[in-house]
């Protein structure tokens, strides 16, 4: 029995990890210096969720993938130029801040509302995917809140593998302490999975996929609903960069023997 899933992936945009980031105090609280100028990418763990979703959809005929994303319209536009070429999906864009300093609960409310508004949503077929943590807030909190709002209490975080059994039940591998995985069996959809790295490499850009996706991406961006995040009740006292520089002693011209001795002594100290 193959189930036609409705797979909704939640993923926002984050600054390219290669960028230098500096906190500043903006009118609405902390922000990043030149935030709007920083090149963006789709959040890395959410990207893995998207690739896993596309792979599952490919193997479960009749399935469909949506990408629900809250972020500034201009950033979406930039990021979609590449992401839309990766795998087939329909974009549901929300226009608002993607800052790490926004409140998870408020973001979750906006995402859940957008998911509920997807026409023809059928909870018995619904799998909600996301990254287990963002590269911005890095909290691993939003997806659980989205799940609660949708009434989904079969939730998994740090997922590296999802297998669907013949009876439609799900077998899920979640990261736990000490480099291990917990294996769970879930009766079936609806379920929510916060993905870690999973098992799939980044798909190569495929212009044909891009062409098909762009038919929905552009209208989705045009009608992106504005979302205000007030950060109610949340006050930042400070945001600062760590004291970065250590006095690095550079040891050159020592023999491997001497270095080895020094390191072993240090390890055993």
């Amino acid at each position: 029995m193959s189930i036609a899933y409705q797979i909704v992936v939640c993923g926002s945009v984050v600054p390219d990890p290669l960028q230098t980031l500096e906190p500043v105090t903006g009118p609405g609280g902390p922000a990043l210096k030149n935030e709007m100028m920083l090149p963006a990418i789709l959040d890395p763990w959410a990207s893995h969720a998207l690739y896993e979703a596309a792979n599952l959809a490919k193997n479960s005929p009749g399935s469909k993938v949506w990408l629900v994303s809250l972020g500034p319209k201009a950033k979406h536009q930039q990021v979609m130029m590449t992401v839309a070429q990766k795998v087939p999906f329909e974009l549901v864009a929300l226009d608002g801040p993607a800052s790490g300093f926004t409140e998870a609960m408020e973001v979750a409310a906006a995402l859940a509302e957008a998911i509920q508004a997807i026409p023809g949503l059928d909870k018995s077929k619904l799998l909600v995917f996301g990254g287990w943590e963002s590269a911005s807030r890095g909290a691993g909190a939003t997806m659980q809140m989205v799940g609660e709002r949708l009434g989904i209490t079969d939730q998994f975080q740090g997922v590296d593998e999802l297998k669907i059994a013949a009876d439609g039940s799900l077998e899920i591998l979640e990261r736990i302490e000490g480099g291990k995985h917990q294996i769970s069996k879930c009766a079936g959809a609806p379920a929510l999975l916060g993905w870690a790295t999973g098992n799939l490499p980044e798909p190569k850009n495929n212009p044909q996929v891009g062409m098909v996706n762009m038919r929905t991406v552009m209208p989705a961006l045009q009608k992106a609903k504005p979302v205000k995040l007030a950060g109610e009740g949340l006050s930042f006292a400070s945001v600062s960069l760590p004291k970065q520089l250590r006095e690095t002693k550079i040891v050159k011209d020592k023999s491997a023997d001497d270095i080895a001795k020094e390191i072993v002594e240090w390890i055993k100290k």
Binding site: P44, Q144, T153, E232, F236
Partner: protein, 345 residues
């Protein structure tokens, strides 16, 4: 007046994890700092009496417990029901919990259920003029913030390894049992097992003194124009066995193994440290054959003493970030280190 609830779960063997005692330390810090606050304990597990007794000398005024077979497993639906029931019974305004995989999965959802807020990866708690404040990192450990919140209950998930464990002693705790009847729809998921590498292939050791970081240099062409991957594998494996270090890796190296190239067989994405990997806590770290700029070296943000071996004297991984950089061939140095360690056995 704040009611501070330490919320913990038992481990598979029925014990209390060190991370729970660390969270207890954070809860006590808040309790001491906030005038008029009270400290209570909530426990979830198959059987919670022994764990409650093990910390009974702490100044908690009450103990709440949800126990039974249904609560032995680490599962969202049952854990959410248990945590929700305890928070309500305790009328908790601040919930301090260890950020274990089990609690991290569920407590933000419970905060949503109770109309509160949740902060995870918390590394410090403090008194900010009579109000509780926390510290946590943003942008994958690249900047640290201190913040306060008006909403309650406020769930504070404390990062394991960030606090000293509370050593309060044992006694006899009187537990108020909180009854939770789990409906069938909370039992759609069952934990069926744990997958772990074989003992000799287990390379992630959170309690190790040393984090050993390997970079892509191990698989690159060396001075003789050849790669030496089997030798690299032997050296690294040998060092891990002799030193009992935990193995971390750069993204480049684990990505290679994911894409089917001939690389180190025991590496997986679980070993990856850095922006899109983990940021483990160990007293010492030794990196080998790594190169990376600040954004990517966050993998050893929480390593106290750091040394690096690289052929590159300008190594971005080490300059300004390590205490010592050895400009040397890691193959030669690690070979000698293994000899010395073997001779000491």
């Amino acid at each position: 007046m704040e009611t501070i609830l330490l919320l913990a779960h038992t481990e598979a063997d029925g014990s209390l994890a060190k991370s729970a005692r660390e969270a207890l330390r954070a809860a006590r810090t808040l309790n001491q700092a906030l005038a008029g606050s009270s400290l209570v304990v909530g426990l979830v597990g198959e059987n919670v009496q022994a764990v409650a007794d093990s910390i009974a000398a702490c100044p908690a005024t009450k103990y709440f417990g949800v126990a039974g077979k249904d609560f032995a497993q680490s599962r969202y639906a049952s854990d959410a029901a248990a945590a929700e029931a305890i928070c309500k019974s305790a009328q908790a305004t601040i919930v301090v919990a260890p950020a274990t995989s089990r609690w991290a999965r569920v407590l933000p959802g419970v905060a949503q259920r109770l109309g509160g807020r949740a902060d995870t990866h918390v590394t410090g708690v403090a008194d900010a003029g009579g109000k509780p404040a926390i510290s946590r990192w943003y942008y994958r450990q690249r900047m640290e913030a201190t913040l306060t919140r008006a909403q309650r209950p406020w769930f504070i998930l404390v990062d394991p390894g960030s606090q000293t464990a509370c050593e309060c002693g044992a006694g006899t705790a009187k537990i108020e049992t909180v009854a939770v009847n789990l409906p069938d729809n909370c039992k759609r998921t069952t934990v069926v097992g744990i997958r772990e590498p074989k003992a000799d292939a287990q390379t992630i050791r959170p309690d190790a003194e040393l984090l050993f970081v390997t970079g892509a240099g191990w698989t690159k062409k060396q001075a003789d124009g050849q790669t030496h991957v089997p030798e690299a594998e032997k050296l690294i494996r040998g060092f891990l066995q002799l030193s009992r270090a935990s193995l971390g890796s750069s993204k480049s190296l684990v990505d290679q193994s994911g894409e089917g190239q001939a690389v180190l067989s025991f590496l997986s994405h679980l070993n990856q440290i850095g922006q899109t990997g983990s940021t483990p806590r160990h007293p010492k770290g030794l990196s080998t054959c790594c190169h990376g700029e600040e954004p990517h070296t966050v993998g050893w943000r929480f390593i106290n003493e750091r040394r690096a071996i690289s052929l590159d004297p300008n190594c971005g991984w080490a300059r300004g970030k390590a205490d010592v950089l050895y400009v040397a061939d890691a193959f030669a140095v690690m070979g000698k280190i293994n000899e010395l360690l073997a001779a000491r056995k």
